[in-house]
Amino acid sequence: MFRNLRDSLTRTRQSVFGQIVNVLGAGDIDEETWEDLEALLIQADMGVPTTLELVENLRERVNNEGLYRADQLTEALKDELRAMLDDQPEFSMEKPRQLTVVMIVGVNGSGKTTTIGKLAHYYKKRGKKVMMVAGDTFRAAAIDQLKIWSDRADVPIVAGQPDGDPAAIIYDGIRATRGRGYDLLLIDTAGRLHTKYNLMQEIEKIYRVCRQSVHAAPHEVLLVLDAPTGQNALVQATKFKDSVHVTGVVLTKLDSTAKGGMVFAIYKELGLPVRFIGTGEKIDDIAPFDADQFVEGLFEA
């Protein structure tokens, strides 16, 4: 019964936005064009409100600017998307200061620990003296996992015992950097769903420990989101921002077929910019976020 649907769902291997170029071919703009456009935005996980708004804006532009060919829409759409990511706030992680403390937070399995390994390597290559601290004392073997990353990145790690108090170990981590010329402390935390009251309390405590131990810390609180996540990403970002003042997003698993379109809504609604993207499981698979490139990338087949 579902055969046809299944076929049509899987026939194309092309990126969703890549299809826009095809869909918005040289033909005239008609109702079908708009439907297709809406479909493509939805399928990139832009979310319903953002999609409807984008389509609305484009319709207006088509009227005002007298666009009539569908392919003109591609450029207009890129403009709109770029505009949505405009005016990114300054990245405080890279401001000169004695010690920069960065908390990495997010739901289970989004890629926090891997991101810490990559970031340690990234900043070490750029001449920073980096240390990591194993704040996930809960998940089985989470500490061992981070230890392996500390070996790979060749940076020291402060770690305690499984089931220890994460706030205490983070306090130890901060103390360990004292007077030894460290530039950057990366804090791994256990994955947690934003719906869990106790776990959100726990992470707020970690936040307070940072706040009380180092001036203006944590200097960045990065929420790790993975690209395959749908519209719940905005809920996650809202809750983590309320709770531990998230300052930015790391968008992982962009090597998948998912586009991570929710980052538009997250920036628009919450002002949280994407700082890094993760594109694989290797230590080098990380790059600073570049809005223009990201938008351009959405359209590549």
């Binding site: 769902l9 996992q145 009251y197 395959p228 749908g230 499981e281």
Partner: protein, 444 residues
């Protein structure tokens, strides 16, 4: 933040009801809402299209036209169609051969390792003797993770060092199980992208080597539109026999369940509902449909309440509540019972009508609010809890500092508590039908 499907449908169908009669145009309006709501629930775009078409076909025409309350009829059709799409709850089919082999596959971070352990526990409770197999030889410490879980459960784990060859390892594990008289082999494979050909070939080889009777896709309930492609690619590669949705304890609406079901046509077999190893439930399509629709999952709530709530306590509390003798002490007790039932937002969604009130009441905050209230009450003496009137400025300051809140917070709680007592009296007199919403939402 986003309107639940239930909200939308109710709004639309209220209008329909007033009209009394359904025209084709009415159905069209309704279907637009159904479509948007399903999209907001992350159901795949194309799946939504098909779904809406089916519902529309069933709705236009006599079935709805002849119905006395057309609105309700359409809701019912949507609900039924959802249940049908979600399909029968799947059971594990372990066949007659021993050992029965189960292979878990999925994207990175979807929860395979934890689910493997949960499955082992579940099967052991069913009288089987499971073996866990650490076939993720890539992710740092993945083997340690499975071994740790195995130790916690006292379930044997077969592993080799990192760098082992997973298809061969799987074969050896099965031999080991046979030798040891273990009856079920659960293979935890590495997370992989559905477009990573080399890695997809690897699970094909594992499959060819050990011929699992169950091949389960472990999928995150928060997944967005890509759910269809992921599920269908895995299905094509290794012929899935079932799905397990994880992280159901979050607040994602879980439309991915519908998408994946529809493209693979294999049943959803379990739901993973928490980080603890027994947070593992059989899938109920009707409940899932209701949850997605926001129509209220009364069954689950009642079931939970029966197992978790002390009935006598509950009865006493409600009596006190209605008689106005309800104290802060009772309130604390009630909150603890409610908390045992699960995330409050999820609970509220289970109560019909409650989700509509979510508009005025930010349920997502309810849980953290409850934690704060609890802390405040706990910082009071028993006397204060029973008679809050004695709380004057200095006592309030003490309570505030004891609970890490402010005097304003304490005042707000007391004010709301008085308000609640008032509402409850009205409730008793049959006037305030929003009593329960005030109970949770009032404190802010």
């Amino acid at each position: 933040m986003f309107e639940s499907l239930g909200n939308r449908l109710q709004t639309v169908f209220e209008n329909l009801q007033r009209r009394g009669k359904l025209t084709e145009a009415d159905v069209d309006t309704a279907m637009r809402e159904v479509r948007l709501a399903l999209l907001e629930a992350d159901v795949n775009f194309k799946v939504v299209k098909e779904f809406v078409k089916r519902v529309r076909e069933r709705s236009v025409g006599h079935e709805v036209m002849r119905s006395l309350t057309p609105g309700q009829q359409v809701v019912k059709i949507v609900h039924e169609e959802l249940i049908q799409t979600l399909g029968e709850p799947g059971r594990l089919n372990l066949g007659m051969q021993s050992p029965a082999i189960i292979m878990l596959v999925g994207l990175q971070g979807s929860g395979k390792t934890t689910t493997a352990a949960k499955l082992a526990l579940h099967l052991r409770r069913d009288g089987r003797r499971p073996l866990l197999v650490a076939a993720d030889v890539y992710r740092p410490a993945a083997i340690d993770q499975l071994e740790t879980l195995g130790r916690q459960l006292d379930v044997p784990v077969y592993s080799e060092g990192p760098g082992a060859n997973p298809p061969r390892l799987a074969q050896k594990a099965v031999r080991f199980a046979t030798e040891q008289g273990l009856t079920t082999v659960i293979i935890d494979t590495a997370g992989r992208l559905n477009i990573d050909e080399k890695m997809m070939d690897e699970i094909k080889s594992i499959r060819d080597n050990v011929r699992p009777i169950e091949t389960l896709l472990i999928a995150d309930a928060m997944t967005g539109q890509e759910a269809v492609r992921v599920a269908s690619d895995f299905d094509k590669a290794v012929d899935l026999t079932g799905l397990i949705m994880t992280k159901i304890d979050g607040d994602a609406r879980g439309g991915a369940a519908i998408s994946m079901r529809e493209v693979t046509d294999v049943p959803i077999k379990f739901l993973a509902t928490g980080e603890k190893l027994d947070a593992f439930e059989v899938f109920h399509p009707d409940r899932m449909a209701s949850r997605i629709l926001g129509m209220g999952d009364v069954l689950t709530l009642i079931e939970k309440a029966q197992t978790e709530m002390d009935e006598e306590d509950a009865r006493q509390a409600s009596e006190k509540l209605l008689s106005g003798e309800f104290t802060l002490e009772d309130f604390l007790k009630q909150m603890q019972q409610i908390k045992r039932l699960g995330p409050i937002g999820q609970l509220m969604e289970m109560i019909p009508g409650m989700n509509r009130m979510a508009g005025d009441v930010d349920l997502s905050n309810a849980e953290s609010e409850m934690g704060r209230i609890e802390a405040i009450i706990r910082s009071m003496t028993l006397e204060e809890r029973r008679n809050p009137r004695i709380l004057k400025a200095s006592r309030k300051r003490r309570v505030a500092s004891g609970s890490g809140t402010s005097v304003q917070d304490v005042n707000a709680l007391l004010k709301q508590f008085r308000e609640m007592q008032r509402v409850m009296k009205q409730f008793k007199q049959g006037r305030g039908n929003r009593g329960i919403a005030n109970l949770f939402g009032g404190f802010r």
